[in-house]
Amino acid sequence: MSFDNAYEAITEENDSRWAFGTGFEDPLSGVDTTVPSGVEGADLAAYCLMLGDDALIFSHRLQEWCTNAPELEDEVAIANIGLDLLGQARLLLARAGKAEGGDRGEDHYAFFRAEHEFRNVRLAELPRGDFGELIARLLVFSTWRLALFQRLTESRDPVLAAIAAKGVKELTYHRDYAAQWAVRLGDGTEYSRERITEGLASVWPYTDELFTPHPVELRLGEAGVAVDPSAARAEFDDVLGQVLRAATLDTPEAPAIPGVAGRAGRAGVHTEGMGYLLAELQSVARAHPEATW
C-alpha cells in the first residue's frame, strides 16, 4: 500500500492497521454501574475518588523511580506495582464518574481537577526519598490498602466489590515485595538498617491519617458500601509487627502530623509536594486539552 503523503496514510479509512482509534476509552465499558439503593451518588463518587486518588498519586511517585532504581529487577518490580495501582485508579475514577451521573471520565478527574479537589491521603504524595523510604512507604501503603480492599470485596456496590477482589490479588504481592525488602534491609548491614529505620521514621507520622475516617466513609460504611478504615487498624498493626520483628526493627515512635484544623488529604488539604506532583502529572493534558492520540 503506498500513499502520496503521510497525511493520506494516517487518514486512510482502514482502521485495522491501527492499535488505537476505535474509541475504547472506558475501562468500565459494559459494566452495570447503577448506584446501589439507599446511597447518594455524590457520596459514592467521593469515596471512589479517595481510593482512586490514593492509587493514582502513589503510582506517580512510583513512576518517578523509573531509571532510578538500584537494580534492574527492582526497577521492573516498582514499575509493575505502579502500573497495577494506575489500573486500579483508572477503574475507580471511571466508577466515580458513573456514580456522579454526568459525563466525566477518568481523564477529567486525573488531569483537570485542582489540588484541593484531590482526596488522596498525604502518605501517597510525599516526595520520593531513597530506597529505604520507598520500601517503608510501600509497606505501610500496601498493608493498609490490602486490609481495606479485602473488606471491600463484601461491598454492596458490585463494581467496588469487583475492583477490590481484583486489587487484593495485586496488593498481596506488593505487600510481600515491600515486607521482604524491609526484612533484608533491617536485618542486613549497619547502613541498610539505618536507611530503613529512617524511612519508617519519615512515613510513620502519616499513618494515623490512614485510619481516620472521613464522614463519607462513615456514611457509606453504615450503608454497607464502604469500609471504615479504623476497622483495619488491628490487622495493620499485626502485619507491621510481624515484618518489624523479622527485620529486628522497633516500631517507630513519631507523633502524627495533624492536618489543618482537623482536615487532611481526604478533605483536600495536602502537603507542599502535591502541587509540584500535579504540575507534572497534568502538564501535557492541560497544554493540549482537546488532544487525542
Binding site: G30, L83, A161, A162, Q180
Partner: protein
C-alpha cells in the same frame, strides 16, 4: 460464515502472541443477537495495558469476518485467575519457553504475609530440570516472574499464580 465465537476465539493475546484470548481465559462470552455480536472479556491485571489492544483486535477480527456490529464488554467479576489458562494454553506457553502457572492460591479472610520466597515448584521449560530458582517476582509483564535454571543456566519466565 464462520461463527462469531470461532472468530473471537482465534484472536491472540498481544503480549503472549502464542496464546489465543480463549487459551488465556480472558474471553468470557460471545453472543449474537439481531446481527450484533457482544463479546465479554476480563482483564488479567487491573493495569493490563493490553486490554485496549485486545478489544481493538476483537473488533477488527469480527468486522473482517463480516460482523458489522460488534460490542466488547468488560467483565470484572469474578476476577481473572491463572487457573483459567487452558491445557492447550499451558502447552503452548511451555513450548515457547515460558513456564506455565501452578494452582492459584484460594483463600478467604485476611491474606497471610509471605516473608520467604514463594513456595512454588517450577520446572525449567528448556531442559525440564526441577533445580530452578527465583530471580524476581516481577518480570517483563505484570503476569510473569523471572526464574533461572540451575542445571542448564538458562533464565526463563514463569506465569504467576493469581
Amino acid at each position: 460464515m464462520v461463527t462469531a465465537q470461532a472468530v473471537a476465539a482465534r484472536v491472540t493475546d498481544p503480549e503472549l502472541p502464542m496464546l489465543t484470548l480463549a487459551d488465556l481465559g480472558v474471553l468470557r462470552e460471545v453472543s449474537e443477537k439481531d446481527g450484533k455480536v457482544v463479546v465479554a472479556i476480563t482483564p488479567t491485571y487491573s493495569g493490563c495495558p493490553a486490554m485496549d489492544t485486545m478489544r481493538d483486535d476483537l473488533v477488527h477480527a469480527l468486522r473482517g469476518a463480516g460482523y458489522a456490529e460488534v460490542e466488547v464488554r468488560t467483565v470484572l467479576r469474578p476476577a481473572w485467575s491463572s487457573d483459567w489458562i487452558t491445557e492447550d494454553g499451558r502447552r503452548k506457553l511451555a513450548e515457547a519457553g515460558i513456564s506455565p502457572p501452578g494452582a492459584a492460591p484460594r483463600r478467604s479472610g485476611p491474606v497471610p504475609l509471605t516473608l520467604g520466597p514463594p513456595a512454588r515448584r517450577v520446572r525449567c521449560p528448556h531442559c525440564g530440570s526441577a533445580e530452578t530458582e527465583l530471580l524476581s517476582e516481577f518480570g517483563a509483564t505484570a503476569c510473569k516472574a523471572l526464574h533461572r535454571c540451575r542445571a542448564c543456566r538458562e533464565p526463563f519466565e514463569h506465569v504467576k499464580e493469581i
